[in-house]
């Protein structure tokens, strides 16, 4: 090492500096075994869930885009003879979903303090509020069908049921995930140090809630 020329030493230091810039560790100068790479700044699961949400967003972007083509292209919306969408009930329902989002965040904060009981209870509350949301929506649909709004009521009925129905399916899926995480929490799977599973599930739940905010604003107003 001592015999190395000044020139290559400088070059080598520059190389190390470059490695540091890229958050990676280079082989130590004594020629020993290389260090393991530094832990990535964002964990694999977080990158994966972010990518998954990007894909979900593109899926809904397709549906929303189609909805807007019909809505912007129509002179009268809703078309004559078809019922308007019920606003009051849906506003109340939106509040339920909002509080389910609050509940899931509260559960996540619970496990960050190590409070297992709070985690389990808040997750159950989240799922319960989700169930209320979907049930109210089902009841609302029954009323709309009764008033003559069906899948075959032209693009107005079609886009409504497809868009809102797809969202409801996502709520149901997210509920399944929350219940699965609750069961795992019951077995003591999560701790202050390790609660990635709760975090991913909470992120997805909040995504589904936020998506509802967008759809509610677009479709019901």
């Amino acid at each position: 090492m001592m015999a190395r020329s000044a020139n290559t030493a400088v070059a080598h230091d520059l190389a190390i500096e470059e490695e540091r810039l890229h958050l990676r560790v280079v082989e130590p100068q004594d020629g020993g075994p290389p260090h393991p790479p530094a832990a990535p700044p964002v964990s694999n699961t977080r990158v994966a869930i972010a990518m998954f949400l990007v894909a979900e967003s593109m899926f809904f972007a397709g549906l929303v885009g189609a909805y807007l083509v019909f809505r912007v292209g129509s002179v009268v919306w809703p078309p004559a003879g078809l019922p308007a969408l019920p606003l009051t009930v849906t506003w109340i329902n939106t509040v339920f979903l909002f509080f389910s989002g609050v509940a899931v965040v509260s559960g996540l904060r619970g496990i960050r303090r190590g409070d297992q009981r709070a985690l389990r209870r808040r997750l159950l509350l989240t799922a319960a509020l989700g169930a209320v949301f979907v049930s109210v929506q089902g009841w609302e649909w029954a009323g709309l069908v009764h008033h003559g709004l069906t899948l075959s009521s032209g693009p107005y009925g079609g886009t409504f049921y497809l868009l809102i129905g797809t969202h409801a399916a996502h709520v149901l899926g997210a509920m399944g995930w929350v219940l699965w995480v609750t069961a795992a929490a019951q077995r003591g799977r999560y701790s202050v140090e390790n609660h990635d599973g709760v975090e991913m599930c909470a992120v997805y739940w909040i995504y589904v809630c936020a998506l509802w905010g967008l759809l509610f604003g677009l479709v019901y107003h």
């Binding site: 020329s5 020139n7 290559t8 070059a11 080598h12 190389a15 470059e18 490695e19 890229h22 990676r24 560790v25 280079v26 082989e27 020629g31 075994p33 290389p34 260090h35 393991p36 790479p37 990535p40 964002v42 964990s43 694999n44 990158v47 994966a48 990518m51 998954f52 990007v54 894909a55 979900e56 593109m58 899926f59 809904f60 972007a61 397709g62 549906l63 885009g65 189609a66 083509v69 019909f70 292209g73 069906t150 899948l151 075959s152 032209g154 693009p155 009925g157 079609g158 886009t159 049921y161 497809l162 797809t166």
Partner: protein, 580 residues
């Protein structure tokens, strides 16, 4: 990782065994890559045979196909192809070749096999997800093939499934077959999303020490960008497919004009996915060609960063050009102008890549191996396909050649001349690492020259008859008086396609013979720099005995002052290279 820990990890991986966990439900990225390769090559045979039947009908309309008299009605009548079956043939040929051959080989096979090896890690970030993504893709393939055997036959509305043709049974007479087509592609979309998430996470987080983003081999760059495109494009197609399925089965009318639907909306949704899709088909091919051209010219790739940036530019521009598929569908002329301009702008990054490939070859010590020949064919055929694309981008020209064989010629020069040559080159190049044996060079060259010759006989005349007004997707060209002077071309192209098919048998023989009886491969038979050649041949489960450390970019060939003409990424720096 210390060597002891590495050896320990290595042991852990070897505790599994048995046929099922090794060959069927393997979690090893290399085995999953090979599964994708074999599945796609099998699908390629089916897709190819369908194409030969299309060609037969065009050259010898309503004459019995030789050897197919046994096929029952209503598919064939004593070997004669009826119009309904003809529609099915070209629809399914394109669907299979695009979704079940080119994408699964480029992304599924090469992506899986190469990414962990080339970035220097043990496996994908999520091996179980990876295994599922293969089996879901295989299931989707099964669904698609099964649609041939249901009442009414397989989808017949073209691979673009334009509404209302695809949106109601009355137009094509295809019932369940079209539904299965839709479901199959939705299922494939799920598989592809799983794969993309895996690739992106792996490339972002699991690179070996020293492997910065700008030391990634270009093929990894191309697969990274392709994964992002797939992740963004396929969900949007899934949304469109859901709407189409609802139109067919649940009484909605999104695309059916008689109930207030918008058939043009389908075209927008389809091509918003469909154009990024075109780049999904070609970008990994560009990456593969870049690797091969550099290795066999024994020169660094010309303009490494420009190559990566050009791919990023193509990926971005790919989102704002979809309207060029719809110039004839009726469009505000201002929009047409905008789409024409964005489309022509794509020629710039594509030209950057082409000139950089030529710059790589310039003054190189070129070795004409089988992979190199395929890579050279990739560049030259891609240039022909790319140049015909510029004609079509110009609205005044496109109005004339829209829906003619000129378009069919263009797509085949890009996807066969481009992607498939890159696939053959990539298989020959990485075969030693995949199976531990070399492919036979003589057979490889026979296959290459035969394919190149018959490919051009088959597809080049398409430009000529396209300009002459020969429409695509017509059942019987003899019904049109103005096509009479062009009919002899149809016969030439069909003979070419039969030759093309026969030469693929040479490839199949070479592939399977070499797998079991080829010459044993050394660890680094091509004297290449990238990390996959640091692993033993074939690499064990877990790939590297010791996690490699990366000291330099992937293309340090013929470095002045070095004893050898290659300088692997993982070799600790010599004085010359460090000062360099």
């Amino acid at each position: 990782m210390s060597e002891a820990a590495a050896a320990h990890a290595h042991d852990e991986h070897h505790h599994e065994g048995g046929f099922v966990s090794t060959y069927l439900f393997s979690l090893d990225h290399k085995m999953i890559g090979k599964q994708f390769l074999l599945l796609s090559l099998f699908m390629m045979i089916i897709g190819g045979l369908l194409a030969l039947m299309v060609r037969w009908q065009l050259a010898y309309p309503e004459q019995p196909v030789p050897g197919l008299a046994w096929v029952p009605e209503p598919y064939l009548y004593d070997g004669i192809i009826p119009p309904e079956t003809y529609n099915m043939l070209f629809t399914m040929h394109a669907t299979i070749m695009i979704f079940f051959v080119v994408i699964p080989i480029l992304v599924g096979a090469f992506g899986n096999f190469l990414i962990p090896l080339m970035i220097g890690t043990k496996d994908m970030a999520f091996p179980i997800l990876n295994m599922l993504s293969f089996w879901i893709a295989a299931f989707a393939g099964g669904l698609l093939i099964s649609s041939f055997f249901v009442e009414g036959g397989a989808a017949a509305g073209g691979w673009t499934a334009y509404a209302p043709l695809s949106a109601a049974e009355v137009y094509t007479g295809v019932g369940l077959g079209q539904d299965l087509w839709i479901i199959s592609l939705v299922v494939l979309g799920i598989s592809s999303m799983m794969g993309s998430i895996n690739y992106i996470t792996t490339i972002i987080n699991m690179r070996a020490p020293g492997m910065t983003m700008f030391r990634l081999p270009l093929v990894v760059w191309s697969l990274f960008i392709t994964a992002i495109l797939l992740l963004l494009a396929l969900p949007e197609l899934t949304a469109a497919m859901a709407m189409l399925l609802f139109d067919r089965r649940f009484g909605t009318a999104f695309f059916l004009p008689e109930h207030g639907g918008e058939p043009i909306l389908w075209q927008h949704l389809f091509w918003f996915f469909g154009h990024p899709e075109v780049y999904i088909l070609i970008l990994p091919g560009m990456g593969i060609a870049s690797e091969i051209l550099s290795v066999f010219s024994r020169k660094p790739i010309f303009g490494y960063r420009a190559m990566a940036m050009a791919m990023i530019a193509i990926a971005f521009l790919g989102w704002v050009v979809w309207g060029h598929h719809m110039f004839q569908s009726g469009m505000n002329p201002t929009m047409g102008m905008a789409f024409m301009t964005t489309t022509m702008v794509i020629a710039v990054p594509s030209a950057i890549k082409t000139f950089n490939w030529l710059g790589t070859l310039w003054g190189g010590n070129i070795h004409f191996t089988t992979p190199m020949l395929h890579a050279l064919a990739f560049v030259s055929m891609f240039v022909i396909g790319g140049l015909s694309g510029i004609y079509m981008a110009a609205t005044p020209v496109d109005i004339f050649i829209h829906d003619t064989y000129f378009i069919v010629g263009h797509i085949h020069y890009v996807v066969f001349g481009g992607s498939i040559f890159a696939i053959f080159g990539g298989i020959a190049y990485w075969f030693p690492k995949m199976y531990g044996r070399m492919m036979n060079e003589t057979l490889g060259k026979i296959h290459f020259f035969g394919t190149l010759l018959f490919f051009n006989i088959t597809f080049f005349p398409m430009h000529i008859i396209g300009i002459g007004g020969h429409m695509r997707r017509i059942y019987n060209p003899e019904q049109y008086e103005f096509l009479e002077p062009l009919l002899h071309w149809n016969e030439i192209m069909t003979i070419g396609s039969i030759g093309l098919g026969i030469f693929q048998i040479v490839f199949a023989v070479n592939f399977f013979w070499s797998m079991f009886a080829g010459e044993k491969a050394t660890q680094n038979p091509w004297h290449a720099n990238t990390l996959e050649w640091e692993a033993p041949t074939p690499p064990p489960h877990g790939n590297f005995l010791v996690t490699p450390t990366v000291y330099r970019g992937p293309y340090e060939y013929s470095v002045p002052g070095e004893k050898e003409d290659w300088l692997p990424q993982a070799r600790p720096g010599s004085g010359v290279a460090a000062a360099h």
